[in-house]
Symmetry: C2
Subunit: 211 residues, 2 copies
DNA sequence: CCATTCGGCTAACAATGTTAGCCGAATGGG
DNA sequence: CCCATTCGGCTAACATTGTTAGCCGAATGG
């Protein structure tokens, strides 16, 4: 997900720019027929409230009022459908993260983690799908993954700390979604404990000097 | 995975015990017939080198030289097989973590993360299975999960920091296994960046006083 | 000695993704 | 205006999945 280099944006001479500006562009979404979009949408709600095993071609066809085989007039395969869902998820999470970062300059790491967590909790199954085992990088929209992950690099200041921060967010969210933490443990404080650790580490890294 | 409370062990009066002692006992493994163990073993190697989609009842039966239906004379279902594999994985990871912690008192967090990473990289598919979406907690060996996760609590000193540390390890390992980090990025340094952040946070927490 | 259990087998079923082939309705170019 | 083409539905079928039912020979033990 994370993008590569974070170069300084066009506002290089703006002294208020304490953090580097986004350099990655959000790729244009795919063009789709109305029917295909409708199917993908139905798939999404089916996934979200019936779970991954509830998302089957025949059930999906049913909710759309169609025969399963007819789905293939609109989508080449089930995995293509999954790619579409993953792209939706990445787009939403990326938007949320970029938005959060644009708003809060005082505590970017905290804002980022909060937003990441909220986005995941709002669509648990979709988040799981997006970050599931091995997904088809080759078939995905070029640059989408990089754009969605970029805020971590912007907030952390250092690429390695950025990846570590993303790892923490990803791991915590997955464990929270899967209910793997201690019963009754205060997850807010778990998130906060990690956030504090990374904020402190961030402070130990020199700000990128704005000439 | 993490255990609940970490009470002080029997060596409460030992002044060298800078960290709390394990209080959770490793649950006794299930008793199994030789044939069942053989099947589970075959399933494991099948999973590890053919991937999760390569582990099918018929293929498993083939490698054991049996008919698929005959597997059900030894195992009640595929999900029971998965539970067995998960238990294997938890047992191995737990052993490795407890061992690492017992050895290194100088840098427990670093040792823990190294061991966690190694264990995961050694058996990627098994690790994915162990930490996969929602697994059947009810069917698992009682206390195994708690025992396996306990080292994080021992090393972190604070339950919330422990869960955050575990989250970081889990997230980083998953992202590494799934190849989601930047191509060519130095993962050692990513792990290290997180490790440093958590070590610093650990230092800010008072040691549990040993009366 | 015989009943029971063990552990293999074949046959079958339902559900999954997916393909082939048919067909009516829209559509657009000559 | 007609006709060829495309669009988007349908039914039927296939292979593969987990799983169950039922048969049967060999060991086993009271």
């Amino acid at each position: 997900m994370p993008s590569g280099q974070v170069t300084h944006g066009p506002s290089d001479s703006d002294p208020k720019a304490a953090y580097p500006q986004p350099s990655t562009a959000r790729p244009a979404p795919r063009v789709r027929t109305a029917r295909a979009a409708e199917i993908i949408d139905a798939a999404r709600t089916l996934l979200e409230d019936r779970g991954p095993r509830g998302l089957t071609m025949r059930k999906l066809a049913d909710t759309v009022g169609i025969q399963a085989a007819s789905l293939y007039k609109h989508l080449p395969s089930r995995s293509a459908l999954e790619v579409a869902l993953v792209e939706h998820g990445l787009d939403e999470i990326g938007s949320a993260l970029h938005g959060a970062l644009a708003k809060s300059t005082v505590d970017p790491i905290g804002a980022l983690l909060d937003t990441y967590r909220s986005a995941g909790l709002a669509n648990p199954q979709l988040y799981r799908l997006v970050t599931a085992g091995s997904f088809p990088r080759g078939q995905m929209l070029e640059g989408l993954e990089a754009w969605a992950g970029e805020p971590f690099f912007l907030a952390a200041g250092d690429p390695h700390l950025a990846q570590a921060l993303w790892s923490f967010a990803h791991g915590t969210l997955l464990l929270e979604l899967d209910g793997r933490f201690l019963d009754g443990s205060d997850l807010d404080r778990t998130w906060q404990a990690g956030a504090e650790a990374f904020k402190a580490a961030r402070r130990a890294i020199p700000r990128p000097s704005v000439r």
